[in-house]
């Protein structure tokens, strides 16, 4: 048994791969880190630069416009509470991390989903990879992320991106595959090129399903961003982690509440956005 383990050491092989990547593709990871870091800083500046009260007002208006009065009231009270508890800056850090991770996840995930919907082979290859990504414990992503990108917010964003990618790929694929046959036939019968078909028919018809995937991706990203506090991503994850390691119940609880408020806000607003198209379509 010993010898087999020695010959076929899966863990060691993975480690060797990561080491090889560090030695030979460091420039690539540096470049990725630079892009992600720049984007993250930009987003963070948008939320941190204006006075907190103004941001709360804008969030409230957004919630009102998207999903109505109830959520607007919740947003106003919730974010005021965060400000009052003194976690405004951390919450905005977390929000920036989520937005950066989701932005890159969609940038990758939607094209992947389109590709998967167009080619059965692509889908056959992608599916087990997505299964792998979704079921591997979230913490495991942190190790290679740290090794390749060192500590800080960038590996946090990268780990989050990978963790939250599957839903949007899956639902983009599903949405496009579910477009009724007659709509596809109508496109072909009227002489659409495959690009015209994708842009004018398939994506718009699949939009509600894709938006459900985006919503899922955002929620997964939020949960992962908190976990990536362990590798120094900062934000609310830090607060919760401090609460655990220093046994500070008050801090842990306040950090937790802030995360819940942010989560509900993000969920309701993105869900409402994804329903806007659908609502106008279903209205009788």
């Amino acid at each position: 048994m010993e010898t087999i383990k020695e010959i076929l050491d899966i863990g060691a092989a993975f480690e060797a791969l990561i080491n090889w990547l560090r030695e030979n593709a460091d420039w690539l990871f540096d470049f990725i880190a630079m892009v992600v870091d720049g984007f993250l800083d930009g987003v963070n500046w948008i939320f941190q630069f204006p006075p907190a009260v103004l941001v709360i007002v804008l969030f409230t208006l957004l919630a009102w416009k998207a999903s109505g009065r109830g959520i607007a009231i919740f947003t106003a009270i919730g974010f005021s509470l965060i400000l009052y508890m003194g976690y405004w800056s951390e919450t905005m850090d977390t929000l920036s991390l989520v937005i950066a991770a989701v932005f890159f996840a969609l940038l990758l995930g939607i094209p992947l989903g389109i590709w998967a919907s167009k080619s059965d082979t692509a889908w056959k290859v992608l599916r087990p990879i997505l299964d792998f990504m979704q079921t591997l414990p979230a913490f495991v992503y942190l190790i290679p992320a740290v090794l390749l990108f060192r500590l800080g917010p960038v590996p946090g964003v990268i780990a989050t991106l990978i963790f939250s990618l599957p839903p949007v790929v899956r639902l983009t694929n599903l949405g496009i595959r579910q477009v009724p046959v007659e709509i596809i036939e109508a496109c072909r019968a009227f002489g659409a090129t495959s690009n015209q078909r994708l842009l004018k028919a398939e994506l718009p018809v699949a939009l509600p399903t894709i938006m459900a995937g985006v919503n899922q991706t955002i929620m997964l990203a939020l949960s992962m961003v908190v976990i990536s506090g362990m590798i120094g991503a900062g934000g609310l994850g830090n607060i919760v982690l401090k609460g655990i390691t220093q046994l500070r119940i008050d801090m842990g609880f306040e950090g937790g509440i802030s995360i819940v408020i942010l989560a509900i806000f993000l969920d309701r607003v993105t869900q409402a956005l994804s329903h806007i198209g659908k609502k106008s379509r279903d209205k009788k």
Partner: protein, 417 residues
């Protein structure tokens, strides 16, 4: 030259479809081919022509390959073998760019479940085809508005498809197909998803539209009544994917090519399809310029008739004379037949179905004159002819039985016991 020529067309689904063709040619049945090769024969050696400006209906039950057939015509489905010539171009071997242009300009399609884009409003759905071919915004809006007007959807331009009823959604589908003014209109069970009342209304409107536009319409249906109503010619597909008969509705009803077609058409109400034009008969006529009472009487006696129609020299119907009036006229010594002609009788156009003639035919004693739009006399139809036509083809066993025969039958059975 015919607009569309289909030559020896085959479509076989499954692995290695070309292998199945020799088997079909040997006459192996559809089921055996399925067993041997795993292939399904959808279209089996179809050959026919579709003329310019006619409504050609392909009719068959589900599984007869009719939907496959219409999709071969714009190559949504690529045929396995054979040729489809449209204006002499074979679309089976056509390259993709040419095919795309053909689909954009020459032919468009109407779908059973409409195939509208749910996120676009009515007018932008109608614009879809024009938008794909890059027509500029103002022009396509204008053309779409015209198409919507044509199908009677003014005022709904900015509604979403989901806000409309099925019949209205299909009007949008029809307007979309008409917007780029194609030569050929492919309609795949276009009215089958609608309820019967709306369906019949849409059929009438299609007939009206066609009378104005003169497109070449290829219409697929599983409903024989629909086929008979709108088709100039009908092709009947059998369950084996083979064309069983091609002909005008009357032709198919009166001369079914085989048992399958006969079975198919036996329940059709013939009186709705057979027209005055087909059953009309010649009748003795008099001409105003040359005939007087004497020749009129001679003519009526010769044919054993008590009436005769009067025409002018270019066969325009002027009226009808009764034998008593002619005798009277002769007694008075006058010669003008027109003075005693009556206009008190029925006329019908040759397109009138005999079911519509029946009421008038029962009521009147004189035959019904069949005339065209210019009042040219074509012939006559009378009660006996209509009844004879309706009687033709009725299964005699299911008709009434003479009572004495009923009694005889009963004694037969009692004796046997």
């Amino acid at each position: 030259m015919a607009l569309v020529e289909v030559k020896d067309l085959y479509k076989i689904f499954g692995p290695n479809p070309k292998k199945a063709i020799p088997l079909i040619k040997k006459g192996v049945s559809k089921q055996d081919i399925k067993k041997k090769t795993g292939c399904t024969v959808a279209i089996n050696s179809a050959t026919f022509e579709i003329h310019r400006k006619e409504t050609f209906v392909v009719m068959g039950l589900s599984g007869s390959g009719k939907s496959t057939f219409i999709r071969c015509l714009n190559r949504l489905i690529k045929p396995t073998a054979g040729q489809i010539l449209i204006d002499g171009d074979d679309i089976v071997t056509m390259d993709n760019v040419k095919l795309m242009n053909l689909r954009r300009r020459k032919m468009s399609m109407v779908f059973q479940n409409f195939g509208l884009l749910p996120h676009r409003n009515v007018v932008s759905n109608v614009e879809f085809g024009l938008e794909l071919s890059g027509v500029d915004k103002d022009e396509r809006r204008q053309k779409s508005m015209e198409a919507l007007k044509l199908v009677g959807l003014e005022g709904f331009e900015f509604s979403l498809p989901s806000e409309l009823s099925g019949g209205m959604q299909q009007r949008v589908g029809l307007a979309r197909a008409l917007a780029n003014d194609p030569e050929i209109l492919l309609m795949d069970e276009a009215f089958s998803a609608l309820d019967p009342l709306i369906r019949s209304q849409m059929q009438d409107e299609l007939l009206e539209l066609q009378a104005k536009m003169h497109k070449t319409i290829i219409f697929i249906t599983h409903d024989l009544d629909e086929a008979l109503k709108i088709g100039d010619r009908i092709a009947i597909l059998g369950p084996d994917g083979r064309v069983r008969q091609i002909g005008t509705p009357e032709n198919i009803l009166s001369n079914p090519a085989d048992d399958y077609v006969r079975k198919f058409v036996q329940n059709v109400d013939k009186t709705k399809v057979v027209t005055a034009g087909t059953i009309k008969r010649k009748s003795p006529t008099l001409t105003t310029s040359k005939d007087g009472p004497k020749s009129a009487l001679h003519l009526m006696e010769k044919h054993g008739k008590s009436i005769a129609f009067i025409l002018d020299s270019s066969r325009i119907l002027k009226g009808l004379v009764h034998i008593e009036d002619v005798v009277e006229l002769k007694k008075r010594g006058e010669g003008d037949l027109c003075s005693i002609a009556t206009q008190d009788f029925y006329t019908a156009s040759p397109d009138t179905s005999i079911s519509d003639l029946l009421t008038a035919a029962i009521e009147t004693k004189v035959p019904i004159a069949v005339i065209d739009d210019n009042n040219t006399f074509l012939g006559v139809v009378d009660r006996e002819m209509i009844i004879a036509e309706m009687n033709d083809g009725i299964d005699e066993d299911s008709g009434p039985t003479v009572f004495s025969e009923v009694l005889e039958d009963e004694t037969d059975t009692t004796e046997q016991e």
